[in-house]
Point group: D2
Chain length 420, copies 4
């Protein structure tokens, strides 16, 4: 990829500016965390904040500096063993479930690692070397920014004292929501997948046609007070509403509400807060989303339906809401981000009924970074949109997020669909 093409990846500025902004945001997100906060791991699915800071740096060091900067000296010879996530081609690595045991290096040492790599990266970026990998590394880091936020939320939630990493929102007024209506689509052939300039992951392509039957999506997401009605009606007690695996999950884990709920409160990055009834429900699993939709007499959208509606609304690159200076906006309806009145981006990821599978003629990216998306194509479901924790600029209509159907520590919610 030429430097010129790389610039096209970043429509709003130079790639170097983009790199710098992304890297700074990671540091800013971790700023409220103590070394101990940044060290612990609350479950195997989550990683320590410190690990996110280091792993994203390892990505640039391993896939760019090591190969493309003559004479680059790795910061520490034995750190790659710690900070490789899952790239089998990059050798052995520390067991995922033991990431929370790494008290050394400290957070400060990892920030020094970041500075070391940034210093080496910046002239390389200016020179135009492997702009594609730089853009990929930035997108990768943006993904980890969201994970850093959701992982630390889960970690702090383990503490019975309910600590906060951001101040309580001073102005947490109840959301004002528009009345829901149905956004209809007549069906027919739609073009799906990444088709514009700018960066996208390999799994978002190639662009291809799909056949849709007529359908409609609701203009608004399901809210907390709607979810209260589901609970009140025994939704968590009626196996006929649930997928078989979902009911097993409910019973094995004694599930009776979304994650982070207690009484009228929910746990947030600002500690325990009153729950806004009109805000979109979040932290639900695919199983819960699916059961709710069945209870309500509707269904989940497919990923194709969602994307067709999103493209119709010209929302292909709608910005997500996250602003590190406004941490108190996390965990609530991020109304300003819901452009067009349809809450596609910036509130929460929306479960679809589509399994995460390869698109027709999908080819993984070449080289070691091809171990990025394709290897996860079993057992997971696609989520569309973007959440309040998604980095600005890291959302687009073709984006395919994916998680296992029981996972719910991300900001996950649902939008209803129906046949027409």
């Amino acid at each position: 990829m030429s430097a010129q093409a790389a610039h096209k990846l970043m429509p709003d500025g130079s790639l170097a500016d983009h790199y710098r902004a992304v890297r700074e945001l990671s540091g800013a997100l971790a700023a409220p965390l103590s070394d101990a906060d940044a060290t612990i791991q609350s479950m195997e699915d989550a990683s320590p904040a410190k690990w996110h800071l280091a792993h994203t740096t390892w990505f640039f060091e391993t896939f760019i500096l090591a190969d493309h900067l003559d004479g680059y000296t790795p910061f520490e010879a034995d750190w790659p063993f710690l900070f490789n996530s899952y790239y089998e081609s990059q050798g052995a690595r520390h067991e995922r479930c033991r990431r929370g045991m790494i008290t050394r290096p400290t957070k400060d040492e990892i920030l020094a690692y970041r500075a070391h790599v940034d210093e080496a990266m910046e002239p390389l970026i200016e020179s135009g070397v492997r702009a594609d990998l730089v853009a990929l590394g930035c997108a990768h880091e943006q993904q980890h920014q969201e994970l850093l936020l959701t992982d630390i939320k889960h970690a702090l939630f383990q503490n019975p004292l309910g600590p906060a990493m951001f101040d309580k929102a001073a102005h947490a007024e109840p959301s004002e929501r528009s009345e829901p209506h149905w956004i209809e689509h007549p069906g027919g052939i739609a073009r799906i997948g990444h088709q514009a300039e700018g960066f996208a992951y390999d799994c978002e392509g190639p662009v291809h046609r799909i056949l849709l039957e007529p359908f409609a999506l609701r203009s608004t997401l399901v809210t907390n007070c709607e979810w209260d009605a589901f609970i009140a009606d025994g939704g968590y007690e009626n196996p006929l509403l649930w997928l078989s695996d979902g009911w097993g999950w409910v019973e094995d884990n004694a599930i009776s509400a979304p994650l982070y709920w207690r009484d009228g409160e929910q746990f947030t990055h600002a500690g325990w807060q009153p729950r806004d009834p009109e805000a979109p429900v979040t932290h639900i699993s695919l199983f819960e989303a699916d059961a709710y939709a069945r209870w309500a007499g509707y269904r989940l959208p497919t990923e194709g339906e969602w994307e067709a509606i999103a493209r119709g609304q010209d929302a292909a690159d709608a910005p997500a809401a996250f602003d590190p200076a406004a941490g108190n906006q996390l965990d609530r309806a991020a109304a300003p981000a819901s452009q067009g009145g349809s809450e596609l981006f910036g509130d929460c990821w929306q479960w679809t009924r589509s399994a995460y599978s390869p698109y027709p003629r999908f080819k993984p990216a070449e080289g070691a970074v091809g171990e990025y998306n394709g290897k996860f194509m079993s057992g997971q479901f696609v989520l569309k949109g973007a959440s309040c924790a998604t980095a600005r600029g890291h959302s687009r209509a073709s984006y395919r997020n994916f998680f296992y159907p029981h996972q719910r520590w991300q900001f996950t919610g649902l939008r209803l669909a129906k046949d027409i």
Copy 2:
């Protein structure tokens, strides 16, 4: 459904004849088994043979006799608790993983239960009552016939003595295989799903259109000797060939060959037998099938591609091979059944890359039997075709079998696909 329509479900004869034939086949399959053989359960996925005999009978008793035969007296009041599989609407039930603890009732007592229900069912069928449910019950029992065979195979395999339930094939000559070629399809819109007369499960419909890109399927299944080459090339040791979940499964379970393999032998219903190099490989997981395809430079077909090819070959109702008088044909290439030279039906189920999901506008069957297919639509993959253990008449192009990607105690194999 009228009796007339019911006859259409069974093109080859009356529904009563069909019922009788299906019920007799179950008894015949279990005939070589002792009471103890028919009692044990080798893993949670499998059920005792006795349980299959009773559960299929419970289905007729519960969904037809109890509702539609005045004055019907259940055979034993406390047996439904034992023989309900998973129908939440039908009340509490014995824990699935404890089915192997039921030594009483004995096999003979369960055969008496079968006779009791058959006696009540037969006049009811003649009268035309709920022919749709009768047909469903017969299809359901045919599914359990295949499970009975695969479950007892797994149970006998646990025994270090390697016992046989059928005699060794006298004539187990090596298969003669046709040369593989590629069956091409130009792409475009195809009609998929059940669209003929005759019985089908709810999940096979509704018929709908899909868009296909040009592709080709190989005319023959992957064989044992091809699989030997995969092993010899380190296929089970190279993580880059595997889905991430698949590699985890390989490592956690120390997988290094298909199930039932040792040295040059494989375990069959006739005990340990030499492996036929030219026979299709069976007892592989989706993970293994996918890794093999990647290693070979191809991919798995989608379910739509497979069905489009099968319909093009007018094989919609190709018979599967199983004949209870020829148990020794199990576990090997059932060549006569592979009509048209393309081995679509009767050798083994063929994994597709398609997750088991609802078709557009899918509606579960009404009533309690609606808990039949839809509730399993997460985490599983579709298999197409039919195996050597599939009952004759229980295969069709629209059939959607489904299992989890790690499961391999069914007769599962693979057919390669490629883009063209």
Copy 3:
């Protein structure tokens, strides 16, 4: 050991008679069981009845016939792999937790194995060869007779239909119990361990002196109605009554009553039966026995205290109650066996507070059979006495039975002790 000495092992008759009687009793105990009943395994601690029949036979074949009968042909070359329990010196063996998978050999085939070995053994016994090992093998088989009874009880209990292997006791009248009193002991030095003629296990010796403080044991065992009072007083809900490991076990397993209890009934070899309030409580763990004693203001006896009292009562060889023709006596107070009014033998095994440890100067038996008792000396507790399921002639004051503190599928109960 000379034949003369061997006779001393069997005071009531010849060793050959003893052998024959023991072997016949095993067959008689298994007679009410179907092949399927005798095949299943309900938990890892328990073994199939068929396995007990075969394993006890394997013991004679392996440790006597193979070494001492010229030209002996093993019944089946591959059966030892199945029927070795844990003798590491005897090579590899079938996994313990998979014993329930062995449908073949059938029960009848195992009875033929028994007959084959008996035919070879009997002349060998008459010739006086290794009478010590013959006596050991008989004692070993008597142990397995008790296990066969407790294991099959546990297996049948898994069945929601509550099947019976013996007829219901026609005359199950409530027990009449003598009033409890305290049997006092002045303390001092006592001689403990096997010290008479006759057979004993290696772990019962050597005889040695111990120092006792003054104490008393209650003359009667704790009864079902006493246990009811413990439950009514919240005994299972008060952690302060329990050992730490015991409370963990209560919580993890939601324990709230002895094993086999429901409402006013208990599960027996004759199915569900009303519970006799005056009968000794059975099927309790060490944890429960210990908690009860603490609740009652007393404690458990040590094994030395128990033996000192038993010797004082000259009960060294008190017969236990089991009579295969009276299966309906199982599971209830076996009053006739409780000689001397102190219920030492024949009701239930009595937990002591003594860990199962080696006696001073303990030496395991020589040779392969030395892997018999010593290797279990960690984590287990000693039980004294004998239960209603203990074979007649297989009880004595020096006997040391041992189980883990959570185990309770044996006929286990408790006798209270106190300091005086």
Copy 4:
């Protein structure tokens, strides 16, 4: 207990001085740890360093200040939930296995908690209130000092970088060991248990007589190079050397050496260090100690034998070696502490073959602190002596340490015994 009596508890100075010294040592031990180091928990058996600092403080606050200091205000109302260990009488508590999730309060906040409690405690101690509980609290804290050291060692060991908390010993010269000889004891009646003035735990009493057979203990502990010979002779591969539970543990955990060994090194508080061949082997389980003794032709001592020898040597209050200014002395033979040439105290805890059981007429301490020792009397084994990590003044001949037979993260070793 009067203030006068309390002084007797502390022969070397006032109770207030003792309290102050103990409290200061805890702080000194934690000084080299970062907040993150002090936060993590490497396994359920271990606790975070921060938790030890807080829990020992909670003990004084809960059992002394809350009851005996009018108007005492708890430092933080919701911290007791976090820092109660297992006292059921003190209400609900944070799950043990989740202690590593508590990043807040920080280490500094816990040090402030310590200062707050110390300030309240000191005048109370001077006034003589509940000197018995003060002494108990100090002993309790000394136990936790040793746990803090062994737990943080285990935590740092999880880190592939092998971090150190103390500097490497500058002078780590190979130990010089005296030649082993046998210390003989003629047997007879010995008085065992706490019988002097000064503090002891409830489980060390009451003093009582036991009967001993003649025996001998080796004068030196088993060394690293002796252990190398055991490994070289296949000690970890021969099941006949092991207790049955021990062999299961070896196989399940692929054990092939003591904990913290690799090649010629061992992990220490100063990171990976060469192993001193003449130093006592440490970090072995009871299972390993027992197997070694059997392999060597000897046995483990009983706790009574060990104590009888120790009393004979008048070592009842031999000081252990730990000096916080000499952290580099940890993990090696602490030769100066091995008084009398018999290495009884100050090298490592010595496994005995005695299960941890109540002494005759044992009564737990009254009140809430009675939940201290007695509730652990199942499944554990007694260790005698003291290790290099035991606080000075916290060792005596009557001390009964106890762990499960598979545990080995303490400084555990073995001394051989034999019958004579």
